[in-house]
């Protein structure tokens, strides 16, 4: 509302963030676990004087930098780009509260990146001891980078005492910060194994392949073994409503939460039956299949984590539609559109309730809802009459716990109802995108 909105057709902004974020998480966690995997594999290979294993580690590191340095790093920037476009108000708050945390994270990221480059180009050049030291520097700085971001990410769901104290330390060391860090570290280890299975199954020498495939399967199983316990701890720290949403309160979210467990179980079962028991016979397509299961597990888990935060983007502080909880009273009195800089009705608008309603929709709903696509309102209000719609909006947060309350005057609510009613009527042109042309005609 403070910033202009951007309409993402069909997908909606939230879904766009989701797609980029899931791919990034799947690669960035590998970036951390994969570094540890490389270092430990190198140490193991040198200790046991295993040239095949050493050769594999070297080749795997090429795959590693191509995935991590390019896709991992750039998609991370991509998330930042996307969230700042979809929800600039929330990003601005996170940046202002945590700028030094972010700056510290940047230093770790810089060290991590340079360590990765030197480790990669240093295989032939550096002596083994120094090479391994550089590898460890990579692992430590990469993990610290995760640790810092994890603090900010968990803050959004459980800001804890920050709400009262506004202290950065309270926000960073929030209730889910440590269990989430453990969960993510375990996922890093499991993903390191999953990715290594892809390159490991391509080794030609049977004996060497068997050794490396089984070694990688242990990483997958070991990482996932930690998840249930850390997961319980994490869930126990969630706000009651978030826990409720994930455990039956909202069927779709519960279904996805179950999916998270199912896909993780499939990965661990698949890793045991194939790569662990029969390491010689695992084909690369099987490894890819497991990786896809891993991606699904990552996807649904991240989706649930985002979903349980509803109706907030920063819990108890800012709603998903970027309205701050503290502004609620004032905006209800003075009106939403008076405070919505970009959506103040023009003279032409004021003559049409529908056009005022469209402004309300843009300012208050479009952060999450599209008209015709994902979370589309045309579908949501299908068959709804005026009174029913008004009742739904008036008691929005009470009828649907994952929705914020409607904020605005009675007139604004009535206007929103009129606008939403037009979505029921196929004869009327009501697409938000059509607004400008109509507006120009009116002026």
């Amino acid at each position: 509302m403070n910033y202009p909105i951007w309409e993402v057709p069909m997908l909606g902004g939230g879904m766009l963030i989701g797609i980029i974020a899931i791919l990034h998480v799947f690669v960035s966690h590998f970036a951390i676990g994969g570094g540890l995997y490389l270092v430990l594999t190198e140490i193991q290979a040198r200790k046991t004087n295993d040239p095949d294993m050493l050769d594999f580690a070297r080749k795997h590191s090429t795959f590693f930098i191509l995935v991590v340095l390019v896709f991992g790093a750039v998609s991370g920037v991509g998330i930042w780009w996307t969230i700042a476009l979809v929800n600039p108000t929330a990003v601005s708050t996170l940046i202002h509260v945590f700028v030094w945390v972010w700056a510290i994270e940047w230093v770790f990221f810089l060290v991590e990146l340079i360590a990765a480059i030197i480790y990669y180009y240093g295989w032939e050049r550096m002596d083994p001891a120094t090479h391994i030291k550089v590898g460890w520097i990579y692992v430590v700085s990469a993990w610290l980078s995760l640790f810092m971001i994890n603090g900010i990410l968990t803050f959004m769901l459980t800001p804890g005492r920050w709400i009262e104290t506004q202290s950065v330390a309270d926000g960073f060391f929030n209730p889910t910060m440590i269990p989430s860090a453990i969960l993510r570290t375990a996922v890093c280890v499991a993903l390191a194994g999953l990715y290594a299975l892809i390159t490991g199954t391509l080794i030609r020498n049977d004996e060497a392949r068997a050794r490396i495939v089984r070694w990688s399967a242990k990483w997958v199983m070991g990482g996932i073994a930690v998840l249930p316990l850390a997961g319980f701890w994490y869930v126990a720290q969630l706000p009651p409503m978030a826990r409720e949403i994930s455990m039956g309160g909202a069927p779709v979210v519960t279904l996805f939460a179950a999916g998270s467990i199912l896909f993780s179980a499939l990965v661990v079962g698949g890793a045991f039956i194939g790569p662990y028991l029969f390491p010689k016979h695992v084909h690369v397509t099987y490894a890819f299949g497991l990786a896809i299961m891993g991606l699904m597990a990552t996807g649904v888990t991240e989706w649930v984590r985002e979903a349980v935060r509803k109706p907030y983007i920063i819990y108890d502080y800012m709603y998903s539609n970027t309205l701050r909880v503290k502004d609620l009273g004032e905006y209800s009195m003075s009106g939403l559109l008076t405070n919505a800089k970009w959506e103040r009705p023009t003279e032409a608008d004021t003559k049409s309730q529908v056009r005022v309603g469209r402004r309300v929709f843009r300012a208050q709903c479009m952060a999450c809802h599209t008209v015709n696509g994902f979370n589309g309102m045309r579908f949501a209000v299908k068959g709804w009459g005026r009174e029913f719609l008004d009742h739904q909006i008036l008691y929005l947060n009470e009828l649907k716990g994952f929705m914020p309350p409607f904020i605005g005057t009675d007139e604004e609510r009535a206007a929103l109802v009129e606008y939403l009613l037009t979505l029921n009527d196929t004869e009327q042109e009501s697409d938000v995108a059509a607004a400008p042309a109509e507006q120009k005609g009116g002026l």
Partner: protein, 358 residues
Amino acid sequence: MPVMPAPDPTGLPAPVVILKFLSVFTLTLHLLAMNLLVGGVTMMALAGRKRQTDPLADRVFRRLARALPVTMSMTITLGVAPLLFVQVIYGQAFYTASVLIAWPWLAIVPLVMLGYYGLYICQFRPSWLGNRETIVAWLSMLAILAVGFVFTNTWTLMLAPSIWKYLYDAGISGLKLNMADGTLLPRYLHFIVGAFSVGGLAVMLLGRTLKSADEQVSDALQTAGRRWFLAAGGVQLIIGFWFLFALPDRVRNAFIGGNMLDSGVLAAGIVLAIVAMAVVRRMPGLAALLTGISVFLMVGTRHRVRQISLFPDLQVNNLQVNPQWALLVVFVAVLLVGLATVAWMVAAFVRAKPKMAG
């Protein structure tokens, strides 16, 4: 009155002067890396055209191909910090401008990825590539130049609050670019031609380090690099004046005597660049140092252009400050440890070289 979003109620996490310094300093580092990248990839793409017939051009192409992925990596990483600080200080203008041209702005992400993978393809030369390295190099170069163009669009739009609401009312699909702005083209060329020049200097210095490894390539890189540095540097002076005179009067006046400090900084930046060009043949190290300082002064000037352009709609010196001193100290400490770690790793890497040669 232009629409200007309200500042974040959290306030600035440090006095604005500290944030401004960090912004200018880290942007200087990013731009130096960007210059190496843009200059390097352009020279590589051009060398690629003669690769089939000229074996020396082929070797130059390969040597540059080896250096560029790392340069790209550093450009991206060093770009993160100034982007963080600009959001802290100028978020109100930055978020607004980027949302208004959302799709082109978002396109930076896939373009960077495309350009980056292209550079790795040129370095690793996979067998399926055959003879098509030059095409890939050109694609990388075009992707990188396009990224710069979108950046210039966003930064110029950021300085023009008076047109924001007009753009917003014309549609919220985020498909626009800020093409009508008179400063767009000179500003873009100023950055790109400057990058050719500084990139040329870097290629020349790279050539000097290869003296014992491959004398022919070393000579070729030094000659070409110096020529680029001088020729693009000369053109840059002309474009610089074009850019200066394309700025709105109110902004330009500060740099031509209206404000002595602003005018002095800009003049010093220009003089240092000219001196660097004059001494490059005899004292290349000094030329590099002077160029670095000149870039720093120019980034400072760029910052002042922004501040003056946004006055009075956005006055960052008046923003509320809620300093987080303890965390700032932690940041500085982590930065020092981080830089020491990087220095140790780079030293270990460089030191390892003679062992291989032996």
